[in-house]
């Protein structure tokens, strides 16, 4: 492989996180959309259900704080600033239970600001 091609690939690897961020704001081909409201100190809904292989976009809206919405086992997270809906496109889902949490400390009830993504078999 030519040195120039290697440099190009390295550059693409560096840009990958930016690409993921842009993908999080896109709805093209992103499948079903689920709205989630984030308010100190809960998410609504607290349970999200999907089926294996489904494409899912979570649309986060916060009313009061820059809450985080994180699904560590999917390596997916996004900040949800107040008054602005943001979209988190999830990777292809596999069966299982996924813990979701606010990962920006938002106050005394922060630890209770959790949700669960349930992915069932087809």
């Amino acid at each position: 492989m030519q040195r120039r091609q290697l440099a190009c690939l390295a550059g693409l690897a560096l840009l990958a996180p930016i690409g993921r961020r842009l993908q999080a704001a896109s709805t093209d081909g992103a499948g079903r959309r689920i709205s989630i409201a984030a308010t100190r100190f809960s998410f609504s809904p607290r349970e999200i259900r999907a089926v294996q292989g489904e494409k899912l976009t979570l649309v986060l809206s916060s009313t009061d704080f820059v809450h985080g919405f994180s699904i560590p086992d999917l390596n997916a997270r996004i900040d949800a600033p107040p008054g602005k809906a943001v979209e988190l496109v999830l990777p292809v889902l596999r069966e299982g239970r996924y813990a979701c949490l606010c990962d920006n400390f938002c106050g005394e009830g922060h630890d209770t600001m959790v949700a669960t993504l349930w992915v069932s078999a087809r």
Binding site: V66, S70, P72, D73, D79, L101, D103, F105
Partner: protein, 297 residues
């Protein structure tokens, strides 16, 4: 990155004054046994997660007692520590700025009852996240991250709590890089921080998002030990040759990973008051850090 999980069999249990003492023969500590030139043996005490102002009687019906007991026990040590360090979450968080300041001042006042002449503090997310450390700095002064040297050991206090996100941030990482640059590779270094620098369990917010960058910098030094709080129980972990040791809380214990479906404050045990609460002494011998756990009960 090589990771080793020492288990509890690695620890030697001894009975001691004021409760159980666990003497740790830990990977990440014993490796430091090679004499470090310019060091002089000493000890320090780690008190963590005081959460002053916490108010759930089902979890702790005596919220003012554990800190008092710990201070009395430290003051009763035959050999006084060279210093005491509070590793964050001095207070239970509140939206009320006046109450936050009042709680911080009260902790500072109570801590002045320690015999040890030097007492150091730094903030946890309960103290600093909601106002980016403003109240903490007003009461305690100084900086949110800082270094100090004691008897040949270099101490680095890292702040991963004064922003809402659990991060160190680029500027602090640059600061750390500058601090480490030119320091001898075998110099003993102790890092004090609140959250775990490694991804202990991000599902429960037990991680620092950019902590791996700090660990990578520290990994080029041979004698590094990290002491932290946040998770409210004793935990020991290795990233390569670096030992990471969390301390017990002085207000409420949290369930260890794998013992509960969600992060859980463990209820008060009437049969064993103060169970799961405690503090730590660290003996620094020839530059090697040897933690000893003390139960508050």
């Amino acid at each position: 990155m090589e990771i080793h999980h020492p288990d509890r069999r690695d620890f030697v249990r001894l009975a001691g004054l004021g409760g159980l003492i666990v003497a740790s023969a830990l990977p990440g500590c014993a490796h430091l046994a090679s004499p470090a030139s310019g060091t002089k043996d000493f000890s320090f005490v780690q008190l963590s997660d005081v959460h002053w102002g916490y108010g759930n009687p089902k979890v702790n019906p005596e919220p003012r007692q554990s800190l008092m007991r710990a201070i009395a026990a430290v003051n009763a040590l035959e050999v006084q520590p060279d210093f005491v360090v509070f590793t964050g979450d001095l207070t239970q968080t509140t939206d009320d700025p006046k109450l936050r300041r009042a709680r911080l001042r009260e902790v500072k006042e109570i801590a002045s009852g320690l015999k040890a002449t030097r007492v150091r503090f730094f903030a946890g997310e309960h103290d600093a996240s909601l106002d980016r450390g403003e109240a903490y700095l007003e009461v305690f002064g100084g900086a949110l991250n800082y270094t100090f040297d004691h008897n040949g050991v270099h101490f680095i206090v890292l702040d991963n709590t004064s922003q809402p996100a659990p991060v160190l941030g680029e500027s602090q990482l640059d600061w750390l890089k500058t601090d480490l640059a030119g320091r001898p590779k075998d110099a003993p270094i102790v890092v004090l921080t609140h959250r775990p620098l490694f991804a202990l369990y991000p599902q429960w917010d037990w991680a620092t998002r950019d902590g791996a960058a700090a660990i990578e910098m520290l990994a080029s030094h041979q004698n590094v030990t990290v002491f932290y709080g946040h998770i409210h129980h004793e935990h020991h972990h290795m990233t390569g040759h670096i030992g990471h040791h969390s301390a017990m809380s002085l207000m409420f214990p949290l369930s260890p990973v794998g013992t509960a479906p969600q992060k859980t404050q463990l209820p008060w045990d009437e049969a064993q008051p103060f169970k799961g609460l405690g503090w730590r002494t660290v003996d620094m011998q020839k530059g090697a850090a040897r933690p000893l756990e003390h139960a508050t009960a």
